[in-house]
Symmetry: C2
Subunit: 193 residues, 2 copies
DNA sequence: GATAAAAATTAAAGTAGTTTAATAAATCAC
DNA sequence: GTGATTTATTAAACTACTTTAATTTTTATC
């Protein structure tokens, strides 16, 4: 399994010695996901935090009318999972599946608890990760309140320039909070400018 | 200044000894805000993280058409500030002001950095705070995608039962992402049921 | 406690985005 | 490679929410 990738990510935030690194590696479990394979389904308990080494995943809900709403996409170098379900070990409200063939590294809750004890620096690491995630989410909330669908779409493609190609329009529209039909209309309109 | 309130909050997450507590207290600065007084304006650099002891604050933006959009309300026991501006010491995109006469405890960035060094347990503390904030924001994003305005309003008043009374309808509507006019219509409709 | 200013209500017209449905294009499975 | 399924496009009718504007109610100020 490709451990270097996650170690490199971690070294951007904290410095680990050999023993700490070895312990960290020892709790990682590699998993491969085929396209459309589920990592988590509504009602499941989220047992692991998951670092994406390769591929693309989406976290989404299905509403009472059967429509999907994408809470986040995750690509290489990001963490995915349902944090609430993970922390409380209660059933999740989210689905998570792979959009592409993907590879993740998993940490079980009991192992993560051990990790925090044995290597307290990881408190800092995940604090930093969470800070970034919090800021990104806050910006998205603000944009959902302030922007039109067109502005949100334009912001999405400029902020994540290579992501759109990896997604279907249906998935992008479920992230933006509009229908695929309307996204198609927007794209047509924008291409004519 | 009322330190006990924040110490009590902290003790729910981490245990501090006397020296650690004393150091923590030494970096706190108390500030009172009058109604409508600003804690932060767009373009300012957010110099402090702020714990609310008493009162109610709102974090919001003003769009190009002059409309306000509320990213969050903060009441007793919550932290407010623009995390991005705070971390990068760059100009903020948000306004933060007091909806009621309020009292906050402030920590400067340089002091917080010292605190993390001297009392690493605070890495854990803020990680836990951020986890909760992240989960709450993710739920809000999901609801903004999945719910109608009426559903969002009903969820807001059930989730924060005593908050609505402290806010004007204009502020609630700016949080829900609808106009005050439409919120008024919704409330009328719901009261007739 | 009178006056001004801000917030809430109501109604009517307008619009951004949805829904439905039919067609075309792309992807999937064997 | 062919048929089946999913995805994207287009157009027309529809609706949740906005805009404007006039009136009433509440709050703030001296």
């Amino acid at each position: 399994m490709d451990i270097d990738f996650i170690l490199q990510n971690i070294s951007r935030h904290i410095q680990l010695d050999k023993t700490e690194t070895d312990f960290f590696i020892s709790i990682l479990q590699s998993k491969k996901l085929k396209r459309k394979e589920f990592l988590l389904k509504q009602g499941d308990i989220c047992k692991t935090e998951n670092f994406i080494i390769k591929g693309c995943l989406r976290t989404y809900t299905i509403d009472e009318n059967g429509f999907e709403h994408v809470v986040m996409f995750g690509i290489e170098d990001w963490w995915v999972g349902d944090l609430f379900s993970f922390l409380t070990q209660s059933p999740s409200t989210y689905y998570i599946d792979a959009i592409e063939e993907s590879e993740i590294l998993q940490i079980k809750k009991s192992d993560l608890d051990k990790l925090y004890e044995r290597v307290p620096k990881f408190e800092r690491f995940f604090r930093l990760i969470l800070q970034n995630a919090f800021i990104a989410q806050q910006q998205r909330i603000n944009q959902n309140l302030s922007f039109t669908a067109e502005q949100r779409y334009l912001d999405f493609i400029t902020k994540h320039p290579n992501l759109e190609q990896r997604l279907s329009q249906k998935q992008v529209s479920a992230y933006l909070g509009i229908t695929p039909v309307f996204l198609s209309m927007l794209r047509k309109k924008l291409s004519q400018k």
